[in-house]
């Protein structure tokens, strides 16, 4: 890998390089922002799922308690 990098010409980071770097950075930033927004959505789904699991478990406990009460 290092040999490959050494064999390649250095990137001309002069006036033109500034614009090229800027373009590719904008692309990466947009991609990162999108992934970040999707991550937030995923977090919300996870939170809602946890909430629903808790709700279902609570309901199951209540039902079990009612059954025990009816038996007694």
């Amino acid at each position: 890998m290092f040999e490959l990098l050494a064999a390649t010409p250095a990137l001309p980071l002069d006036e033109a390089g500034k614009y090229v770097a800027g373009t590719y950075i904008v692309f990466v930033v947009l991609l990162v922002v999108y992934v970040g927004i999707m991550a937030m959505k995923l977090q919300r789904i996870e939170r809602e799922l946890r909430e629903l699991a808790g709700f279902a478990e609570q309901r199951k406990r209540d039902e079990d308690r009612e059954e025990v009460g009816a038996d007694v």
């Binding site: 390649t8 904008v26 692309f27 947009l30 999707m38 959505k41 809602e48």
Partner: protein, 240 residues
């Protein structure tokens, strides 16, 4: 099961992006006219082509929705357009940077390619408020499909009109007359185009998977008769 095959698709996208970037910076020769600045071409043009094709794909899904009445196609259409609008933002920004570097201006109003893309972008930017304005989900989906088909038909028409305008400023890279791209540049460009297309497909699938997961949570909430969590989006179609 929208998430099926997402992992291999993501791996293929990352591999293709890596390959295309390697080709751009280590294989493709410097352009005789523009020099190093021309490297922007390998990002900007594939992004633009993918965005425009994405709009047309959105129209095709909209046709399928109107024919079948299946809300799944509406979701595909919505996500395709949504992703193409995001790609469109990237096209406008990268295009502006390229224009500044090459022509000394961020924007040139007498260049048909730029202005026509802006018109297409602004047209699709109205898709969101248009959808948002309709409360009823079925009507919203139907009207949005009609919009997607009309706007989708406008995209190739617009492309042809620009080609006929024969601008002397914006380069035609696949022109057969007066020399097109040389072999190494063409290969690099095609790899970049494939990478962008793969990225678009992956992100569309990713978004659909997230929407489907959200839809399943809502279904579960209804089945359990659980209280609602608060406000939810009225724009995006619900995916079950």
């Amino acid at each position: 099961m929208y998430g099926k095959g997402l992992r291999p698709l993501s791996i293929a996208t990352v591999a293709m992006l890596t390959l295309s970037l390697s080709l751009v910076f280590f294989y493709a020769p410097l352009d005789g006219d523009q020099g190093f600045i021309q490297k922007i071409f390998y990002l900007h043009v594939p992004l633009a082509i993918t965005a425009l094709i994405g709009f047309v794909v959105g129209a095709v899904f909209a046709v399928l929705h109107l024919r079948s009445g299946d809300s799944r196609w509406d979701a595909y259409s919505y996500v395709s357009i949504h992703m193409s609008v995001i790609f469109g933002v990237a096209v406008l920004i990268t295009g502006g940077i390229w224009a500044k570097a090459s022509w000394g201006h961020w924007w040139v109003w007498d260049e048909p390619t730029l202005v026509s893309f802006l018109i297409v972008f602004l047209l699709y930017a109205t898709y969101y408020p248009f959808r948002y304005a309709i409360e009823d989900r079925d009507r919203q989906a139907r009207y949005a499909s009609v919009f997607a088909i009309t706007a989708g038909a406008f995209v190739p028409l617009n492309f042809m009109a620009v080609r006929l305008a024969e601008s002397l400023v914006h380069p035609r890279v696949f022109a057969t007359a007066n020399g097109g791209l040389p072999g190494s540049m063409r290969l690099t460009f095609l790899c970049s185009l494939a990478a962008m297309a793969l990225l678009w497909v992956t992100l569309v699938k990713f978004e659909l998977t997230a929407k489907s997961a959200s839809g399943q949570v809502k279904r579960l909430r209804r089945a359990l008769d659980a209280p609602a969590p608060g406000a939810t989006s009225r724009i995006a179609p619900e995916v079950s």
